[in-house]
């Protein structure tokens, strides 16, 4: 595994690819019921109607306004889009899911959570968490069906799931006009001769938290797994990591 060295060089080269990648949050979350009970923010619920794509700016604003959870996202990442299925989510669960789906760190800064592009505990060396290649491969294998089933066009993404899953580079001229516009907006200032690799940065399964319908009933238990699946933009860093064919 190679790790990016030097703070000044930063994550920008990866950003381009990351900008084009789509975090698909089909699901969340890996929250134990006992943990939910102990969490003081457990009562903060956010109801999302409809399965759709949100920008990080939009979803963090909804969390702030509707659950009084002070959360912000690095504004350089606020236009990143993420698919979230409808459901009722506990704020801490959703924040963790957002963190995992985007590869961003949910830092605690005094009273606020902050979705940041890198892990401070790693200093200036690495900007994204790294999972062992075998884990990524296994998870990709198990969750590929979700990626393939994503309704991207309904959410304003002019690509098909297979575009994201194919391990190939795109040139600007190979893309349609809507695709160029979409990527140009996401990537801002991308040069026309840049080779672009699309990728699904994360795939996740979801079981939404279900609050009890009456005081006598227990709350629904949030369970499931939230996993990183595939970092397309990292295949140069992690050898042998590819989403396996079905």
């Amino acid at each position: 595994m190679r790790i990016k060295q030097g703070r000044t060089r930063g994550y920008r080269p990866y950003f381009r690819v990351l900008g084009a990648s789509l975090g698909i949050l089909g699901a969340t979350c890996w929250m134990l019921w006992s943990r939910a009970q102990a969490d003081p923010a457990a009562g903060s619920l956010l109801t999302l109607t409809g399965n759709r794509v949100y920008t990080l700016d939009e979803i963090t604003r909804m969390l702030r306004e509707r659950t009084r959870t002070e959360i912000y996202v690095d504004r350089r990442q606020e236009d990143r889009r993420i698919f979230i299925s409808q459901g009722i989510y506990r704020a801490p669960d959703l924040i963790e899911a957002l963190s995992r789906a985007t590869g961003m760190m949910a830092r605690q800064v005094k009273t606020a959570k902050f979705l940041a592009p890198r892990d401070l505990t790693l200093g200036g060396r690495a900007y994204f968490p790294v999972l062992p290649p075998e884990d990524l491969t296994l998870l990709g294998k198990n969750l590929r069906f979700l990626a393939e089933g994503a309704q991207l066009s309904e959410n304003g993404v002019p690509f098909t799931p297979s575009d994201f899953l194919a391990p190939k580079n795109w040139t600007w001229s190979q893309m349609s006009s809507p695709q160029q516009t979409f990527l140009g907006k996401l990537m801002g200032g991308v040069k026309r001769n840049t080779k672009i690799r699309l990728g699904a940065s994360y795939l996740m399964t979801v079981v939404a938290y279900t609050p009890a319908a009456s005081p006598e009933e227990p709350n629904g238990i949030a369970f499931g797994a939230t996993q990183q699946v595939y970092y397309d933009y990292r295949d140069r860093l992690l050898s042998g990591v590819n989403l396996p064919a079905r």
């Binding site: 703070r7 000044t8 930063g10 920008r12 912000y72 996202v73 690095d74 504004r75 350089r76 606020e78 830092r107 800064v109 005094k110 009273t111 606020a112 902050f114 940041a116 592009p117 890198r118 401070l120």
Partner: protein
């Protein structure tokens, strides 16, 4: 005859109002000479202002204004009601120095200004026991490494922390209400030059709330985009300092309607690189433009040849800003030959002599004569 009568009268006042034995030196008429305004800045942490003889020596100088530190190193000159700050150990259990001094100074038409060093709450030379941050570590400003910067710089309070601002407002209000006879206050708000401070949790949260970027994620060197974002952060930091000064200035003037507010500034601030300016954040010109500041007291290592024209450069900046801002030059006593050259280059009409050793006070004739001669030279150049 009139002069002798005044002498006796003031000596009697001094005897009546100060404790201990009073050495009543003869009062001299101020010999203004080429210096339009003379002032004295006495470092109360090194010069014992509870000593009546020293007070007399100070008041006998040919000065129009006297600057007295009231809040430095996170300590107050007086017995404060603050739950955070403590009184300077040298003045504990003694009569209130300023309350003794103010009527005496007023009798001699000397205006008294209180000085507040807003952010430098722990000086390196102070014992650990006086460290405010031991009681309230959250109020300190931090570097990227998480510490308070270089040990030789001491420790600084965070100008981005609402709790710090609240504490400074309390002190400013306390001083304004306690000493209505003050002619004004001087604020110093500076972070250390050697380290970029601004990574405390409070500072990060404030910037995240304002701009949705954690300062930790900014590249201080990098691509044009990186630099643009860093520049935005610097502007925000400067604006917060200006807000702080504006808030304190407004508060003082609200209580003391006749009072003036001044800031202490580094004369060469605007000749520093952008990176250096981002460390100290001592943007005195913009403070005076935006925060209703009446005067700027400029300091520098005047003896250093590179600072020879620092004062005149600063004056030019003020002039270009089209601001009628009173300017003063702060000169540590004793002065070297190089410092006096800087004085003659500066052509400042207002000179403030900084005294940090009581033994220098009897030498007033010498240093004021030197200053007068240096200023006279500048007059010849003009």
């Amino acid at each position: 005859m009139v002069q002798i009568t005044r002498c006796i009268l003031l000596a009697c006042l001094a005897l009546g109002l100060t404790s201990g034995g009073v050495w009543a030196a003869p009062l001299r008429e101020p010999d203004i000479g080429p210096v339009q305004e003379r002032a004295l800045w006495v470092d109360a942490t090194r010069v014992d202002l509870s000593n009546a003889r020293i007070i007399t020596q100070i008041l006998n100088q040919p000065i129009g204004r006297l600057f007295v530190p009231c809040f430095v190193g996170g300590q107050t000159l007086y017995a404060t009601k603050s739950t955070l700050f403590r009184q300077m150990p040298a003045y504990r259990g003694k009569a209130d120095v300023l309350q003794t001094l103010l009527p005496l100074a007023q009798k001699r038409h000397i205006q008294v200004y209180a000085f507040l060093d807003c952010l430098h709450w722990k000086k390196p030379e102070d014992p650990e026991a006086l460290d405010v941050f031991l009681r309230s570590p959250d109020l300190a400003e931090h570097s990227t490494e998480g510490g308070c910067g270089l040990p030789a710089d001491g420790k600084y309070a965070s100008p981005f922390n609402p709790q710090v601002i609240l504490r400074l407002k309390e002190v400013t209000q306390e001083i304004a209400e306690r000493y209505p006879g003050l002619a004004g206050v001087v604020f110093k708000a500076r972070l250390p030059l050697g380290t970029v401070l601004g990574y405390s949790a409070a500072a990060r949260l404030a910037y995240i709330q304002a701009k949705q970027i954690d300062p930790f994620d900014l590249n201080l060197v990098g691509t044009p985009d990186d630099l643009r974002l860093t520049g935005e952060w610097v502007d925000w930091r400067l604006a917060r300092m200006a807000d702080l000064i504006g808030t304190l200035s407004h508060l003082f003037k609200k209580v003391n309607r006749q009072g003036k507010t001044a800031v202490l500034g580094y004369a060469n601030f605007y000749r520093l690189s952008a990176g250096r300016r981002n460390t100290t954040l001592e943007d005195w010109l913009n403070w005076s433009l935006s925060a209703g500041i009446d005067e700027v007291v400029l300091e520098a290592r005047w003896e250093d040849p590179i600072n020879k024209d620092a004062y005149s450069s600063a004056r030019e900046l003020v002039s270009r800003a089209n601001k009628s801002l009173k300017m003063a030059m702060l000169l540590p006593v004793p002065m070297s030959k190089e410092t006096l050259v800087a004085v003659s280059e500066a052509a400042s009409k207002t000179i403030i002599a900084l005294i940090d050793d009581a033994d220098l006070l009897p030498q007033a004739d010498v240093y004021w004569k030197d200053i007068s001669e240096a200023v006279a030279k500048s007059g010849q150049k003009e």
